[in-house]
């Protein structure tokens, strides 16, 4: 991963290659048959972190209380840090001269591989925190499993990210409970947030050919295997929060992982990518 002094150097991809030469050896990186699926899967990991991180950063300066404002900005920072690691590895696997920055700032919406859940608008604090919780509970299980990946590069990123995501999950669980089991107003808002987001949660566990390929290689777990523990965490927290689990299907909204997004993603990218689109190659 290029460091700041490197950032002033025009050829970031070359620097990334030099840095990669000194990284932990990973046999999966040389597997050409696996390469397309591995790249796609790494983009999913990076894009979930990037888009959710961007959404949380939108709260900066707008939080209802100072501590929440700071907490959301800190969580966003963690996620942007994870993005740099996942997309950095994606760029290495792709080996097409693109950097993590190129992937983040120069792909169009249909090339993004994030879950629809993370691109939905922030709504009120209830929606933001409920989404955090539903995603954190999944993220925690996924990263825990990935620390045993047959890819040492994936395992080391997961181990680093997991330390931070365990804080995220602790905080979002606490707040869902506090607000769910709070006032009449906060309870109603948390229940409404849960109903709104529920149909988007099933996509986290819906495996396709990409997930199957990386699972077969031992890089990532079978997504379905993560479901029972996620359900257990969700059930426990919702019960303590006095919230009712929706009866509707949880997997009605899918497609983000394959590049079929809601209209909201385009607006995120318009803001996030503006500078690099308007001033290509700009750095400071």
């Amino acid at each position: 991963m290029p460091s700041l002094p490197d950032a002033a150097t025009p050829d970031a991809a070359e620097l990334a290659r030099q840095a990669a030469a000194h990284q932990t050896h990973d046999p999966h990186l040389a597997n050409v048959d696996l390469q397309p699926a591995f790249f796609d899967w790494l983009c999913r990991m990076g894009d979930n972190a990037l888009i959710l991180g961007h959404r949380l950063s939108e709260w900066c300066g707008h939080g209802p209380v100072l501590e929440e404002d700071i907490a959301l900005a800190n969580t966003a920072l963690d996620l942007i840090g994870h993005t740099q690691m996942w997309l950095g590895l994606a760029a290495e696997v792709e080996d097409a001269g693109r950097s993590a920055d190129d992937l983040a700032y120069l792909r169009d919406a249909m090339k993004f591989r994030n879950l629809k859940l993370v691109e939905l608008p922030n709504g009120d604090m209830g929606v933001t925190l409920m989404r955090e919780f539903l995603f954190d509970a999944f993220h925690f299980e996924l990263l825990t499993a990935l620390t045993h990946s047959t890819s040492p590069r994936v395992a080391e990123i997961a181990a680093k990210a997991l330390k931070e995501v365990s804080y995220h999950l602790e905080r979002s669980s606490d707040l869902v409970i506090r607000l769910g089991d709070g006032t009449e107003e906060s309870h109603a808002r948390m229940q409404a947030a849960l109903e709104r987001l529920w149909p988007y949660t099933g996509e986290m566990f819906a495996a396709d050919a990409v997930d199957d390929a990386v699972a077969e290689a031992g890089i990532a777990p079978e997504l379905a295997a993560l479901l029972p523990r996620w359900q257990q965490t969700v059930d426990e927290v919702l019960a303590e929060a006095t919230l009712s689990k929706p009866e509707q299907r949880f997997d009605a909204q899918k497609g983000g992982k394959q590049g079929r997004h809601t209209e909201h993603l385009g607006f995120i990218l318009a803001e996030m990518q503006f500078l690099q689109r308007a001033y290509p190659g700009a750095s400071w």
């Binding site: 002094p5 700071i70 920072l77 963690d78 181990a159 602790e170």
Partner: protein, 173 residues
């Protein structure tokens, strides 16, 4: 003319003069973020690990290390970013902990952060994270957490119920 390369011990000494940009009383070596110093075919390689993944100071720290070593006459220098094993507050040196305390930041509790699971919900419910954090000003253990996030990613906000001062806690990680 042959140039004698400085020893890695000497380089470690130089690195102990590089302050953390956000908590300048501690050095990068006090924080335990310099993982390795070695010579590789005439190039000095310094491996640095980030504290938190998204810590904005990481890039500034790299720049400060580079500038300091260049001032010491190192021309052929390469900084490596190393994420494994992930940084833990258990790597903050004993001297570093005392410097933090004297600066008004409660240091991380030693030996509590090794597996990354300390903060998980299950761990919290089982009582593993109910650590007593002493006030860095009056030493009272009668303190409470205001927020698990603070002015930088590595700190949490606490308040002392005896001297009533708010303070930062360098949280276990």
């Amino acid at each position: 003319m042959t140039t004698v390369l400085p020893s890695t011990e000497e380089v470690w000494d130089w690195l102990s003069e590089v302050p953390d940009p956000e908590i300048p009383v501690v050095s990068v070596t006090d924080l335990g973020i310099v993982r390795e110093v070695r010579w590789d075919e005439g190039a000095l390689v310094v491996a640095v690990t980030p504290t938190y993944s998204g810590c904005p100071a990481t890039a500034v720290i790299d720049l400060m290390i580079e500038n300091h070593l260049r001032e010491k006459g190192i021309e052929n220098l390469r900084l490596e970013r190393r994420i494994s094993p992930p940084w833990t507050t258990d790597w903050v040196s004993a001297a570093g902990r005392e410097k933090l305390r004297a600066y008004g930041i409660a240091p991380p509790v030693d030996g509590t952060a090794s597996d990354g699971m300390t903060a998980s919900r299950a761990a919290r419910l089982s009582g593993r994270t109910n650590l007593v954090i002493a006030c860095p000003r009056c030493g009272s253990s009668h303190t409470e957490r205001v927020s698990q996030f603070g002015s930088t990613p590595c700190k949490a906000s606490y308040r002392c119920r005896d001297c009533l001062e708010p303070f930062d806690y360098f949280k276990c990680h």
